[in-house]
């Protein structure tokens, strides 16, 4: 069992740009309109650095920055977990296209950005963090896999952890074999103990029997939930937005579920 306390949230997706705007939508107080979000330009990345990054990287840094600001946390002290289904599809496409040639010329910047932990690397540089950072994948259930890794870091290490889950649609021809309906990024600041800034207490366990997964009440939001692996967290964000006690079932590996009990404070 994992027990932890949420102190900050960041979100970036169509129609859900920042927690202040997204919370009333997720709480059902405002209708969901999946309008294209503005171009990502995270304040934490200086312009020259930002130019060398991709949407996938900027998405992670954007939501991470928002969650840490929301929590008023010391960014450099936080451990971090970056969960992604696929790494960077735009870069995979570019490099695979290049190396299909007989005399490939791979861009060095593109190559070092191709590592799955590139977003983590840019984040750690941006906030000057030497804390442990882990990047991982669980395919469609990357959020659940990330929540478990972050959760055991909080509990077994008594550390404060930034959890980021983010995925952006692939360009063609990869989009056809791995379709995603929209980009989605989420970040949570997770603490081992309650504080004045705690938003909610979470208790997470791996459900031993098959269980129906939590869905979104709004069809548009449920389409977003199933259309991007990172968006599988949306039922949890609804509970946080409504400030309601909830018992949720989020997808985990091998068709299992994570039972997540949310208790607002």
């Amino acid at each position: 069992m994992i027990e932890l306390w949420i102190e900050g949230v960041g979100i970036y997706a169509p129609g859900l740009v920042g927690w202040a705007q997204a919370a009333p939508v997720l709480a059902g107080q405002q209708p969901y309109a999946p309008v294209e979000p503005p171009k990502l330009a995270p304040a934490l990345l200086p312009a020259d650095v930002r130019r060398r990054t991709t949407e996938h990287i900027r998405l992670a840094v954007e939501v991470a920055g928002e969650a840490v600001q929301h929590a008023q946390a010391d960014a450099a002290a936080l451990w971090s977990v970056f969960a992604t289904s696929e790494s960077d599809g735009a870069i995979s496409h570019n490099i695979c296209e290049e190396v299909a040639k007989t005399a490939p010329e791979v861009s060095p910047t593109r190559f070092h950005n191709s590592v799955t932990n590139a977003p983590a690397g840019y984040w750690c540089m941006a906030v000057q963090s030497q804390a442990p950072s882990t990047s991982l994948s669980g395919f469609d259930v990357s959020f659940g896999a990330g929540l478990i890794e972050a959760g055991v870091q909080v509990c077994a290490e008594q550390s404060s952890v930034l959890l980021v889950a983010h995925d952006a649609p692939f360009p063609e021809p990869l989009h056809r074999v791995r379709p995603m309906s929209a980009l989605f990024g989420v970040a949570l600041v997770l603490m081992p103990a309650r504080s004045a800034r705690s938003l909610a207490r979470l208790v997470v366990s791996i459900e031993p029997t098959l269980h129906a997964l939590s869905r979104m009440p709004d069809a548009g939001l449920d389409g977003l939930r199933t259309g991007n692996p990172a968006a599988r967290c949306l039922p949890l964000l609804v509970a946080l937005a409504r400030r309601e006690t909830a018992e949720l079932f989020l997808p985990y590996v091998h068709s299992q579920a994570l039972r997540v009990n949310v208790q607002p404070v």
Binding site: M1, I2, T84, S85, E86, S87, S92, I95, C96, E97, V99, A100, P104, E105, V106, P108, F111, H112, N113, S114, V115, T116, N117, A118, A120, G121, Y122, C124, M125, V127, Q128, S129, Q130, A131, P132, S133, T134, S135, L136, S137, G138, F139, A145, I148, E149, G151, V152, C155, A156, E157, E172, P173, L174, R176, V177, R178, I206, P208, V253, H254
Partner: protein
Amino acid sequence: MTPLVLTTFTAVNALGRGTAAVLEALTAARSGLRPCTFEQVSLETWVGEVAGLDDRNVCERLAEFDCRNNRLAELALEQDGFAARVAQAREKYGPRRIAVILGTSTSGILETEHAYQQRDAQTGALPASYRFATTHNLYASTDFVRRYLELEGPAAMISTACSSSAKVFASAWRLIEQGLCDAAVVGGVDSLCRNTLYGFASLDLVGREPCRPCDAQRGGISIGEAAGFALLERPEQAAPHSGVALLGYGESSDAYHMSTPHPEGVGAALAMQRALDRAALAPATIDYINMHGTASQVNDSMEDRAITSVFGTHTPCSSTKGWTGHALGAAGITEAVIAALCIQNGIRPGCLNTRSIDSSFTSQVLLTNQSGPVQRVLSNSFGFGGSNCSLIFGAYP
């Protein structure tokens, strides 16, 4: 921290199949590096290729996972009785109580490279036979391994470049410590592909000759491929076991540059110190350091400084990449297995291929193999993005 024993472990890399082949090559000072003939790659370099992967497919029941990366993973699962030992643990704990936490950097991206060579000239579409989720996807090899071993515990694929399959030990320790599982299969697999060969070449990091870690004339890395696995259990629950335990781990971030480590090795030193602190061990208790030692100019220099800053100038250290090449996301598990073999067999490898040690180095770099008791080994793995991980293994009777 509470130690976890390596009940059993295995490896496949350029030195051969299984731990006996690896140990034999280490002892005989025989490198697995050969001139690169992989897939008509036009680079003048040497690689640590695993023989025979083109001549096999993965088992029939998991045929949809067939690709070089999963073939390599399966080949390792078949060595040293590894799968059979995991089956015993599965009987004991139940499939849901054993985690599978692996590391990779590029997974089965070679399949996508092949598919891009066969795109439809009109539409640009990939060939119909191409499968994404079971090959290229990062999680594919974890899914393959857990299905092969019939395990249903917590699972993930860690991908932090060249520290990936070192960090799996830390994640597994946390899962067991927190009670989410009783045992864990950890390890990693990374296979040769054009992405990494041309990518590292673009950064001028690939050597033209077999890599010479810590050499004054070192000219860059030799890329390798490898798979390796270990079964981790609490000591009181694992009998018999390998006699080697994970005593500590330390993770850190450089926060310096995407592809260049901090020149003074600040992040590397932090990882080593955190591993010592967690194991509650003084630096002098470490008998041998298996360096990350890629034979790139900057890595070996910074690592030498980092080792000296933490250990002083007397702890024997070397890199074994002259034997295996740099297996990237599988380097951590490859060198964890080598560390365990060093403890079991009382050897400290030298830096194979290295002729004269960089005169600016102050750490105790070994040029030739030494024999004698080895109680504790620290193994370093450092990756792009400034991801550092140090592991401490020790004799555990």
